[in-house]
Symmetry: C2
Subunit: 561 residues, 2 copies
Amino acid sequence: MAYAIGLDFGTNSVRCLIVDVTNGGELGTAVYGYETGHEGIILDSSDHNLARQNPADYIKGLEVSIKKAISEAKKANEDFDASRIIGIGIDTTGSTPIPVDKDGTPLGMLDEFKDNPNAQAWLWKDHTGYAEAAEITELAAKEHPEYLAKCGGTYSSEWFFSKILHCLRTDPKVFDAAYSWVECADFVPAVLTGITAPEAIKRSRCASGHKAMFANDWGGLPAKEFLAKLDPKLGELRDRLYDKTDTIDVAAGKLTQQLAEKLALPAGIPVAVGAFDAHLGGVGSGIAPGKLVKIIGTSTCDMIVSEPGQQLPDVPGICGIVDGSILPGVYGLEAGQSAVGDIFNWFVNYIEPGGKSQGSHEALTDKAAKLKPGQSGLLALDWNNGNRTILVDQRLTGLLIGQTLHTKPEEIYRALIEATAFGALTIINRVEEYGVKVTEVINCGGIAEKNPLIMQIYADVTGREMKISRSAQSCALGAAIAGAVVAGKKTGGYDNCPDAQAAMCGVKETTFEPITENHKVYRQLYALYKQLHDAFGLESFSGKMANVMKELLDIKDKANV
Amino acid sequence: MAYAIGLDFGTNSVRCLIVDVTNGGELGTAVYGYETGHEGIILDSSDHNLARQNPADYIKGLEVSIKKAISEAKKANEDFDASRIIGIGIDTTGSTPIPVDKDGTPLGMLDEFKDNPNAQAWLWKDHTGYAEAAEITELAAKEHPEYLAKCGGTYSSEWFFSKILHCLRTDPKVFDAAYSWVECADFVPAVLTGITAPEAIKRSRCASGHKAMFANDWGGLPAKEFLAKLDPKLGELRDRLYDKTDTIDVAAGKLTQQLAEKLALPAGIPVAVGAFDAHLGGVGSGIAPGKLVKIIGTSTCDMIVSEPGQQLPDVPGICGIVDGSILPGVYGLEAGQSAVGDIFNWFVNYIEPGGKSQGSHEALTDKAAKLKPGQSGLLALDWNNGNRTILVDQRLTGLLIGQTLHTKPEEIYRALIEATAFGALTIINRVEEYGVKVTEVINCGGIAEKNPLIMQIYADVTGREMKISRSAQSCALGAAIAGAVVAGKKTGGYDNCPDAQAAMCGVKETTFEPITENHKVYRQLYALYKQLHDAFGLESFSGKMANVMKELLDIKDKANV
């Protein structure tokens, strides 16, 4: 009997999950909500782009949640023995960079900067660096198009260098005080292992490859001259960042004596290099070559890996293709839809058709389930929050077509579900076109678990069986798998991820098979979806419709000044 | 002091209005709801295309409503004297043809046929003849394109010959028993004047020109050989129809002694030739060269006339261009939008955002009024019920674009209002392109009177002042004007329509001026509306989007089989 700990640092809270490494059984879990700011996020009412976090919350969070999860595990299993915990893995949000001093202490934890949000963790959804993102994209397009080719052609305001450059431009005092910057995914293992000096911290392949343009092809991070052209000081910073990254099967170090005592854990157990939540969610859902993992929530993350030894071309519109970012030894591909559950939530919460009760998810789902594919004559695009994959364009918006004088709310609701399914199919088709096979689809997240109609429509639209991951905590489970792998077989863990996944992951018994006649109708509807998709989404469309959504947004922006 | 009677035969009821011819003052009015069928319409639960009416209801209706209106006028004005009524005018729905025997008696009023809906009046919105309409369109396109050029390129299932041919094909017994067919607009004057023999009835220029392809250019009705190719019996019927039509300034005859006694009216007063409701609504609203009259209800009718002596080309997409159909001596142009109020009703009644109270017209209008043009980022097409002018295509559907995760119901409501305004502007632009000036816009109908927001948006979108017709009963007022004109100046009436209109019509004091900054934004939005309009509405669009709505409807039709 051996256990591993998975720590899942989310947007509002951290979850600790204790897992039986022999079968993936979940023994105890606990959640700690970050204390600083609004639901753990430091906001600025005068700038809706700003979203920061207090790094001290991460430290307190890991301590509180581990303690509580152990106590839960003990409550639930009288023979639970914390001394059998053999390793710890970590997943976090990202890109969530933190400015740190020479010792690796976050500037926000120093008295001098404690009230300055720029000295805190820059949460993934902070968009203050949008202008800098455009600047980086423009320079890279001109001088190093290869940097962009692996991240979908556009460097995002959510990513590492956009945030750091924005800090440099707007708060040079913080920038100058920062000896280096570390991702949250690197910071947590550093705290656990006590290896906090920026030069010594093992950096996450996943975080750097997806968000910091890191690739061995061009010698790691973007060239010093490139960064210096954005700003000489950014060029200088590169020397204080890193040249090497590691995958999740590598130990970042060992748990410190001090924390082991404090948390009643065995001292010296290995702590895995961190990775992003969705990527370890993929691992926890059993990702493997050919197995697409869809994490479906307010938005989706679609995780795919290449075959071992397969060389991948750039895949247009796929935001990240990084060697070892999900599973060591194969390319990880990260795709996603900017809104899925959020679109249904919009319809229910903002439009609320027929009022609260008639317009609930449950009521609309019940009625929508009675409709046949195609019966409403409606078709929608799933772009209410832009399109991440495959168009990589935030300035796209929703579209609904086919309304008559008799169109009912449940027909629109179903059309919105179908739209997200068509968006999902578009991602599958794109990666397959470029040689990445998708032979199995494993879904996880609340929507996948709770809404069989959505899963059936996804099966009918894609013509593929939809499976559901067995664990409801697939990110934390993935982190625990990393913990079991860095522990190794000799201590009761595993020597590699696939072995650990084989033992610790699974899918639910109920799966959703495509219904042939529905799939037939959806093939026709998908052709029309793709026609609208290309017309409104691609500059290259012959009919020149791609201006419409953009111009509407321009007019809207002006009207709202 | 002299009075005229206007009789307005609507879809569910007939209204009688007694008007002071000196100033248009409305002295008394009464409505009679037809008794047969559902709200006056004979329906068939197995065929939703069928809509018929009992001609006996028209006869009873005119008697009851005239009597009641006189009694109302007496109640309201103690010096009212019915002997000063100098003329009667009539407007009706159409095309609403009635099969009649040699004496002009509707077959449905004969014992033999009284239970056969095919022997009754075929109400304007009966669509049973859709296949025959397509057949007529096809033959005319091949052999007589000029027949179609004046009616927008497509002969409608709502029109005269579609209905008669459908009767011939499906109920030859009725067809064979019919000596002739008369429009409702011709039948009512026939009843009032006692001139009921089909050869003797004066036929409405308006009805025949707009719905029966009548034009003096090709010798009246379509050629006998043309009709005979559709069916030899239809060719034979042509000899029993008519070769001459008249405008509303011509008397159909004089009120019979019998009816005068029954209704306590002066015997022998002239009865004007009938016309369609919308056309006389134009007259009652003060239509004149340059003055567009918009009758805004669930749908709109847009009425325009040419300059005297102006020769008009065919105007693509304008369903009717008929010499004298509205005002004698000038061309009448009939355009319209298939749904206006009906689109707002759909959103309120079917979507009911936030429930009954929050989702009412009043609540949504209040909130929508607070929005600035362009602020929502939304744009809609007003095609939920197809597009009449300028695309003449029933198989078009709605479209909404620009939704985000924060789009609110009032934003959609306003976008729908704006869409109908853009549709209205498209009609104005089209007639102006072809040389018909629009220097003034007069609105009438419930929406125009009750919703200042809509009128302001129409002003802002079109960049034109919106005026509201003074009378809430502009169709009946237009009919009364015809009555005053056939009475002539010698009896206290007028010698022509413009003189009568100058005295009897007017607009309300409150008008709606365009707000410059709003118009500026709407010009930008209209460019995008027109782009979507052409892309989805025109086969000739380079980007080939015109298939989308059609294919969705095809898929829908199949799914609903």
